[in-house]
């Protein structure tokens, strides 16, 4: 269980570091976020009936007279209780409930995009690196890789322009058609899928190339391995040699890489949601930015850190199941 413990420690360390950075870095700048929040509340106080109550709540919450360390301790303690405070703009809605209501959309869209991209990319890479792939197939497969260098939102804009604006085939924004009642119905499901096609495609198009190139390299490496040549000498079907011997080993570093790049993927997703007006937590972040809703910005940022760290932890914990060389008992990294 040493492995599990080491991974858990790393998870907690990541989350703690993220929270600490989110807490301290803004305070290093001249403007104090608390001042900014209160200032904003005061300036909009005329329109808000209970401005005093909010200010009171915040003063209490941030304990303005306490030292920064006491504030920091309180901040961490509150994070533990999943208490990120209140939205300034939508008081008294809590930050956590805002995030929670947006989370399923992000998880669904991101999950779909990551899974599809990982599968399609690695399959492409497998074929690109396999000795028996016909040459023309290899040529055709390199074509979709040209988008690899581009940011997802860029491809997203192009897709919207072509498929929504020019052809009108697919909806450009939102998560579902507002005229369809949300619920467990086929119509709603179809609407959700229809709205997810473009953003997911955009993300898949720019991320699959990375998987494909990595997999291709690993395929070339494993092709030279003695156990693959021996499998060949055993007269196994070439599909068995390919999947049970070559791909099975080549995929391992790709899974490690998945863990490393999740943070980057999540960052790209925030912008994708903004471009597609998709009601996930990236959109919440964008709205909070435009409305200067500082507690929401801070809260979403922390949830992003937490979410990615959790996903990395899951990848780490799954890894020993597919690579017997890493055992839960071993203490090596």
């Amino acid at each position: 269980m040493r492995y599990v413990r080491a991974r858990l420690v790393r998870f907690l360390f990541t989350v703690w570091l993220g929270a600490t950075v989110i807490f301290f870095v803004p305070r290093l700048s001249r403007s104090d976020p608390t001042d900014a929040i209160i200032g904003q509340l005061l300036s909009s106080g005329a329109g808000v009936e209970n401005a005093d109550a909010i200010i009171e709540a915040y003063k209490q919450r941030f304990g303005l007279d306490d030292s920064i360390w006491v504030q920091y301790g309180r901040y961490l303690a509150n994070l533990f209780r999943f208490d990120n405070g209140y939205s300034v703009v939508e008081f008294p809605t809590t930050v956590d409930s805002l995030v929670l209501s947006a989370l399923p959309w992000t998880l669904g869209l991101m999950g779909a995009a990551i899974v599809i991209s990982f599968l399609v990319g690695n399959l492409t890479g497998t074929l690109l690196g396999w000795e028996r792939t016909p040459r023309w197939v290899g040529r055709v497969l390199t074509v979709p890789l040209v988008f690899t260098a581009l940011p997802a939102f860029m491809v997203g804009l192009l897709l919207i322009n072509v498929f929504s604006y020019n052809f009108g085939w697919l909806p450009p924004t939102g998560a579902y058609d507002p005229s369809v009642d949300p619920g467990w119905s086929v119509a709603f499901a179809l609407s959700v899928i229809e709205h997810a096609v473009l953003p997911v495609t955009a993300v898949v198009m720019v991320t699959m190339g990375g998987w494909a190139l990595g997999m291709r390299g690993m395929m070339i490496t494993t092709a030279g391995e003695e156990y693959v040549r021996l499998a060949e000498a055993k007269g196994l079907r070439s599909s068995r040699v390919l999947f049970n011997y070559q791909v099975r080993n080549a995929i391992l570093p790709q899974i490690t890489r998945l863990g490393i790049t999740l943070g980057l993927i999540a960052s790209g997703f925030v912008v994708i949601e903004r471009v597609f007006n998709y009601p996930g937590i990236g959109m919440r972040l964008f709205r909070a930015v435009t409305r200067n809703d500082y507690p929401v910005i801070q809260g979403v940022a922390w949830y992003l850190v937490l979410g990615v760290a959790l996903a990395v932890l899951v990848v780490d914990l799954i890894y020993p199941l597919i690579d017997p060389r890493i055992s839960y008992r071993s203490d090596s990294d």
């Binding site: 976020p33 581009l150 322009n161 450009p172 912008v271």
Partner: protein, 297 residues
């Protein structure tokens, strides 16, 4: 094996990338010759009209497609797009270069220390770098940028550096660990010249291609990150960058008004930058690691 010969650096991928990047850089001095950059001020394209959201583009409505006066048209607020690009492109590039430059510098120092000293120093630096890599940079950047408000090119570059160091740190560390055991370095160590300074001089020339590749990769990464947070409406508001231009186009619903000349040019320039730096990075990787050349597509 000493420092590599210059022949290694003559590499088609590298040259193509360099050409694209230079093209973008040179445009900083070339474009202002053709366009009055003062036209980035709102309404300069159609001074007398209030921006409107009318369905058909014409000068009276505040924005136009290409005209002789405005070869790339004007945006929803009547700003000349060519002027916007002429001002925005170098600003975006500068942020990338400053961020990646400082990030790489930090990476060199940390990575070299970790690889050279090993032991506890290595553990601390590696753990920090690995952890920092799994923290989504955008989340933290948004927090910082939303507090700071208006951010100039230099400060934005400095902020970005804080997120550009883990990758070069890892690259440097693993390279130094490998190089450390190479025969000529072992020889240098045995012959008494084992101070970090001498090691640094011994190892650095061989690390140059790795470093250069890591730097160009960072530039693209920083530009992506800064463009991303600008797309969320953060960063510089007074003067345009490519990212804020995309954000303006999004806010102005440019796509749905058919104003392709508003959102497409900044994206096109960004694409050239990204492809250019990708080619540069791949080319430098091939220089650093000649075996890759035979395997490249």
């Amino acid at each position: 094996m000493g420092p590599r010969s210059w022949a290694h650096w003559v590499n088609p991928t590298l040259i193509a990338g360099l050409a694209l990047v230079l093209l973008v850089i040179v445009s900083e001095w070339v474009l202002p010759v053709f366009v009055d950059t003062d036209q980035i001020a709102a309404g300069s394209g159609a001074p007398s009209v209030v921006p409107s959201f009318g369905p058909t583009p014409d000068l009276a409505a505040g924005f136009v497609e290409a005209t002789p006066d405005h070869p790339l048209g004007t945006d929803g607020r009547g700003r000349d797009m060519l002027a916007v690009l002429a001002v925005g492109t170098p600003r975006t590039l500068k942020i990338g270069l400053i961020g990646a430059g400082l990030g790489t510098l930090i990476g060199v120092l940390l990575g070299f220390s970790a690889g050279y000293m090993r032991g506890r120093v290595d553990t601390v630096i590696s753990t920090l770098a690995d952890t920092a890599m799994t923290i989504p940079g955008l989340a933290v950047l948004v927090v910082v940028a939303s507090v700071v408000g208006e951010i100039g090119v230099v400060s934005m570059g400095l902020i970005m550096a804080a997120f550009a160091w883990p990758m070069p740190t890892r690259v440097l560390r693993s390279q130094v660990l490998t190089m450390r055991e190479r025969r000529y370095v072992v020889m240098a160590r045995m012959s008494g010249s084992s101070t970090p300074g001498v090691m640094f001089k011994e190892i650095m020339p061989n690390l140059l291609p790795y470093l250069a590749a890591s730097f160009t990769e960072s530039v693209a990464g920083v530009i992506l990150a800064v463009t991303s947070i600008e797309t969320l409406g953060l960063g510089s508001r007074r003067l345009p960058t490519l990212g804020t231009t995309v954000n303006n186009a999004l806010e102005g619903s440019a796509v749905f008004r058919g104003m392709w000349w508003w959102w497409l040019p900044p994206i096109f320039v960004l694409a050239v930058i990204f492809v250019g730096f990708l080619l540069l990075t791949n080319g430098l990787d091939q220089v650093a690691n000649p075996r890759l050349r035979d395997e490249s597509l």
